[in-house]
């Protein structure tokens, strides 16, 4: 009995010790103390994260800048950590990075087994098809009787097979050892179509001699929801990252952009006032300044600006918004409201 009591007392004392220590070492506090955000990105993927003249640029890169602006007040307070696909999740788990913003697909295994949580879907990718413009094909359902080039050993191979089987189409799938060989096969006319993830198709198309001679069909036949990831043991930090993503989407929906921020401060609309922090005190609930979202928008723009600059009309990729258009404008992009 005595030892049990003292054990209880000891564990109480330990608990008393560990609670403040844990609170002090939360990711938000660590980022604040460090004065910079450690952001894991891909080693080089045009449009998403790439080094240009010594400066990081891209969709995934800019999202980290938005988080840094919301948390630290400046988009420049980010250290980018380039990571290979193999090392990315371990880097996050070990605490080497605060956030993984590296075109990673949200799956059950990555959350339940790896102990990570995806904050939001910032880019709905999925498998698509590229065909020659001259073929006048407008839908994947017109590919019956044709040949399709695909890279060996990828999920794309199975997804394509399942899609054609489900639609009772006879399609010959031609397999190539790697991505360059697959594109070369398509370019040489060994197949009428080529398939991989949609964002990959737009990147591959740029490598063709005449990119304009190929078109990418609107059909998306699989789900590859991409977004930022944090550790599952720090929900407070997770919420910060999640709501920065939601803030950018809400900003587009409300018409708040880098061009309208000044006008937004004078707005009479409660939704706008809450978002940019002149009303409601929502920043404090997240442990941030009330102008958190305004700073994020100021840094990278709203979702439309972020998208168009990096992968849309402002980029050589020119990926149409498609699924990534707002839910109210023809896409499926949706964010819960700031209120």
């Amino acid at each position: 009995m005595v030892w049990r009591k003292s054990l209880a007392a000891l564990s109480l004392a330990l608990a008393g010790l560990t609670v403040p220590v844990l609170a002090q070492t939360g990711t938000l506090e660590q980022v604040r103390q460090r004065g910079s955000l450690q952001c894991g990105v891909s080693t080089g993927l045009y449009g998403f994260s790439i080094q240009q003249d010594g400066k990081w640029a891209g969709f995934d890169v800019d999202f980290c800048r938005a988080v840094a602006a919301a948390v630290l007040g400046s988009p420049d307070r980010v250290s980018f950590v380039p990571l290979s696909a193999a090392e990315r999740f371990e880097a996050l788990k070990s605490g080497k990075i605060d956030i993984l913003s590296r075109n990673s697909t949200w799956t059950l295994q990555r959350e339940a087994e790896l102990g990570l949580v995806f904050a939001a879907v910032l880019f709905h990718d999925g498998q698509g098809f590229m065909v020659r413009r001259s073929a006048n094909i407008t839908s994947a359902l017109e590919l019956g009787g044709k040949k399709v080039c695909v890279q060996a050993g990828t999920t794309s191979q199975n997804v394509a097979r399942d899609y054609f089987a489900a639609n009772a189409m006879q399609v010959e799938i031609k397999v190539f050892p790697d991505a360059p060989a697959t594109l070369a096969g398509f370019a040489k006319g060994e197949c009428e179509a080529m398939t991989t993830d949609n964002s990959g198709l737009f990147a591959e198309r740029l490598k063709l001699e005449k990119p304009g001679d190929a078109v990418i069909l609107p059909d998306i036949i699989s789900k590859e929801p991409l977004g930022p990831v944090t550790r599952a043991d720090d929900m407070r930090w997770h919420m910060v990252v999640k709501w920065v993503a939601f803030a950018l989407i809400n900003a587009e929906e409300l018409g708040v952009s880098t061009k309208t921020l000044a006008a937004a401060a004078q707005s009479g609309k409660p939704d706008v006032r809450r978002l940019i922090g002149v009303e409601g005190g929502f920043g404090k609930m997240l442990g941030l300044q009330d102008d958190w979202a305004r700073r994020a928008i100021e840094a990278v723009g709203n979702y439309a600006e972020l998208y168009e600059r990096n992968v849309g009309t402002g980029s050589r990729l020119g990926i149409p918004r498609g699924l990534n258009q707002l839910w109210s404008e023809g896409g499926i992009l949706h964010a819960p409201p700031v209120r």
Binding site: G212, A304, T313
Partner: protein, 199 residues
């Protein structure tokens, strides 16, 4: 503290008034005037890059052949059904000349004549009062007339201006693209012009 703030506010007010009257072109607008007489062939289409005509994913409850124009995006969509739309890159009205509304295509014309409306002549007195349709006409190869407004969806003899905000409120497509649109969209089709939300 109050005075500079007030001054800044007044300056902002003055700037926005100037915008509305279209006297001060906003910095992002390229100052390209109309070039009547310059020839662009009917075959000219936007072939490459984001403004090339292409089929895109587009959820919509509007019936097929409805035209949806997103001014801020610089795109015109023709709803095709089945969650798809054919998307064209367009040039739109410059700042202060953008508008939103619901219209119908009331008339279609090939190689339309150009009679700049009086308010346009007032702003740009150097413009011709009338110009017969043809390859050098800024109206381009085809025009779709929107309701009883002075605005049209039309071609252009300046295809490099697609994607920009420089018109007086009309929507311009490359000649080859407006010919394609002309074939698809019948008189009576619904046209939804969206301007994006205002703060």
């Amino acid at each position: 503290m109050r005075k500079p703030l007030l001054l800044a506010f007044l300056a902002g007010l003055a700037a926005s008034t100037a915008f509305a009257q279209g006297r001060t072109p906003p910095p992002e607008t390229m100052d390209i005037g109309d070039e009547p007489g310059r020839v662009s062939t009917p075959e000219t289409v936007i072939e490459d890059g984001p403004f090339a005509r292409q089929m895109v994913f587009f959820r919509s409850s509007e019936p097929p052949n409805t035209v949806v124009i997103h001014t801020s995006e610089r795109f015109l969509y023709v709803v095709m059904g089945g969650n798809r739309a054919l998307r064209y890159g367009i040039g739109v009205g410059r700042e202060g000349f953008q508008w939103a509304g619901l219209q119908k295509v009331t008339r279609k014309a090939e190689w339309p004549d150009w009679t700049p409306p009086p308010e346009m002549i007032q702003r740009q007195p150097y413009l011709p009062r009338f110009m017969a349709g043809g390859p050098g006409n800024p109206m381009g190869a085809r025009a779709l007339y929107l309701g009883s407004t002075v605005y049209r969806i039309h071609g252009t003899n300046q295809p490099e201006t697609i994607g920009q905000a420089i018109s007086s409120g009309c929507f311009r497509l490359a000649n080859g693209d407006v010919i394609d649109l002309f074939e698809r969209v019948p008189v009576g089709a619904k046209v939804i012009i969206r301007h994006g939300p205002q703060v």
